[in-house]
């Protein structure tokens, strides 16, 4: 191979990183400007930072509620799908069940379908069919936690499968021979060994639920609205509160970025359903 100049590569990647980061930086710039300054000549470098947009967001009880909803829905959903996905994967990798490969493939079709297609049926089911007396699933946190399973549960199953395939069957078989109950085997032998895989699954499903917008925007109208839907509420036909919108975006971005730094290496494998190892 030809020799190359590492400094040239460095320069090239600085330019690429600039292109990657510039839009995010601009988001921050808009979020720390007072509304009156937005429409004057754009300034790239900030002279003074105006935190009022962030304070407004935090002081707004509606948006605080949305934040709480986002937090509760994505955390409960991530715990739920990781638990159920773990149990389902254990069943699919250890037991001789009829049509298990078909079940495995069927789970993923739920995730591959365009979410827009499920909007109408889920809306109809949640408002008209799945109800007990006056209680409807529409516009409740429980409803959203369950609805998010449609894309997160298949994801959990697919990312956990290699982990569970990698734990030797002989380990749990030996424990069964020694008289352990299935619950004991799962909690004391399989679970500790699967922990790294479970952690990655938990974090990625959390991010997916946290980032979701379309289903939340259509299936909720007041009680269970999430932070991402709050974002679009500031874009109206009569004008957009750009600063507030940018501040909400930053609030939505930060937790995902923190989490991202934890599982950075696993992201490609995750987004490609493990078809490619990152």
């Amino acid at each position: 191979m030809k020799r190359h100049n590492p400094w040239l590569s460095l320069l090239f990647w600085l330019a690429i990183s600039f292109l990657t980061l510039a839009p995010i930086y601009w988001l921050f710039v808009i979020s720390v400007k007072p509304a009156v300054d937005l429409f004057s000549t754009p300034e790239v470098l900030l002279k003074n930072i105006y935190w009022q947009n962030y304070i407004d967001v935090l002081n707004n009880p509606t948006l605080r509620g949305y934040m709480l909803n986002s937090l509760i829905i994505s955390s409960s959903n991530a715990v739920l799908v990781t638990t159920l996905g773990f149990l389902a994967c254990y069943a699919l990798t250890r037991f001789d069940l009829v049509g298990k490969e078909s079940i495995f493939f069927w789970t993923i079709t739920n995730r591959m379908a365009p979410p827009a297609v499920f909007l109408l049926p889920l809306f109809l089911l949640l408002t008209q069919v799945y109800k007990v007396g006056d209680f409807k699933l529409a516009d409740t946190r429980t409803g959203m936690i369950l609805v998010y399973c449609t894309f997160n549960l298949p994801f959990a199953i697919w990312t956990l499968r290699p982990t569970l395939d990698g734990i030797p069957k002989e380990l749990d078989e030996a424990a069964y021979v020694d008289g352990a109950s299935p619950w004991k085997v799962i909690s004391h032998i399989v679970f500790p060994l699967a922990r790294p895989g479970l952690a990655v699954t938990l974090i990625l499903t959390w991010v997916f639920a946290w980032n979701e917008y379309l289903l939340a925007a259509t299936l909720t109208n007041f009680n269970a609205r999430t932070l991402t839907t709050g974002l679009s509420e500031y874009v109206t036909t009569t004008g957009t509160a750009w600063g507030i919108m940018a501040a909400i975006s930053v609030f939505t971005l930060i937790p995902a970025l923190i989490v991202f730094s934890l599982v950075q290496r696993h992201i490609v494998a995750g987004l490609t359903f493990g078809a490619v190892k990152g």
Binding site: P23, L38, L87, F95, L120, L231, L253, S261, T272
Partner: protein, 291 residues
């Protein structure tokens, strides 16, 4: 020791939830799609009307327009992402200071919520406040207005998608390139093969599995793009960026014409399932068996 009863018991919550929120909605939407149903019309009851809704969809100009503009969007976005992603992956094969750091930065857009990506690009490209129209106007005198020009709006959505998803292609291809054996390349160089020959005859066939996998994943995801476009352009101006997902969200939902909307959903779902099945059969199934 692995009793079937226990196996199904462990699987049952998953099957129940996916059944109630995955399969049942699907069956329900198929059933509704054969009815005329508008709860806010004079007659709010469901009326069975055979395949009337499907006939309407197939000849529906807005739907077909939306489908064709979606295909154009998918084509330009995915082709650019693959080319740029490959070039960047090759650039990552060299050694230079701070490689891991730059890789992390390059991955950043992947984790961002589509709706945030949409709002970031809206803030960048809206004429009154954005930096892009400002720079274009003052450097080359070009007036970029995504609220008025259909082509400008289309191009900005494509660029946004490239910005958001090229890192996925890059990282996938890095993984593929790293795992390639060195021998064939050295042998080809000894034999005097040119760069182009090496690419077409050695590199490309060897990274083909990863390349196909990532192309399929991008195709599917680009087909279902909604959030970011909804945020950036709202499907406009006119219907210039009204991609299929946006069309369903904007058109079918507020009109409460549930029968017709269901037929659109079924058709889009059918198209996607065909693509998914091809993906599974050609790529994922053989690979998971091997690994």
């Amino acid at each position: 020791m692995y009793s079937k009863k226990l196996g199904w018991l462990l699987l049952s919550p998953t099957l129940l939830i996916l059944g109630l929120f995955g399969i049942f909605p699907f069956l329900y939407v198929v059933w509704v799609s054969f009815h005329e149903w508008n709860p806010f019309a004079a007659n709010p009851e469901k009326i069975f009307n055979w395949a009337e809704n499907y006939r309407k969809v197939v000849f529906d100009a807005p739907f077909l327009a939306s489908l064709s503009v979606t295909l154009a969007f998918v084509f330009f976005a995915v082709v650019s992402e693959v080319i740029v992603g490959y070039l960047l992956a090759q650039a990552f094969m060299k050694d230079f200071p701070g490689k891991a750091f730059f890789r992390t930065i390059h991955t950043l857009p992947l984790i961002m919520a589509p709706i945030i990506v949409g709002s970031v690009w809206k803030l960048m490209s809206t004429p009154s406040i954005g930096i892009i129209p400002y720079l274009l106007k003052h450097s080359v005198g070009f007036d970029l207005n995504i609220g008025k020009s259909a082509i400008a709006a289309f191009v900005v959505t494509v660029i946004m998608d490239i910005w958001h998803w090229t890192p996925l292609v890059t990282l996938t291809l890095i993984a593929a390139l790293v795992s390639l054996p060195r021998d064939p390349f050295e042998q080809a160089q000894i034999d005097g093969a040119g760069k182009r020959q090496i690419f077409w005859h050695i590199t490309l066939p060897m990274i083909a599995p990863a390349l196909i996998a990532v192309v399929f994943i991008r195709l599917m995801d680009a087909m279902r793009t909604v959030d970011e476009v909804l945020m950036l352009t709202g499907g406009g101006p006119g219907s210039a960026t009204r991609y299929v997902g946006v069309h369903i969200f904007r058109e079918v939902f507020p009109r409460t014409n549930y029968g017709y909307g269901s037929a659109v959903s079924v058709i889009v779902l059918y198209l996607t399932i065909v693509v998914c099945w091809l993906l599974y059969v050609s790529m994922i199934a053989p690979r998971t068996k091997r690994g």
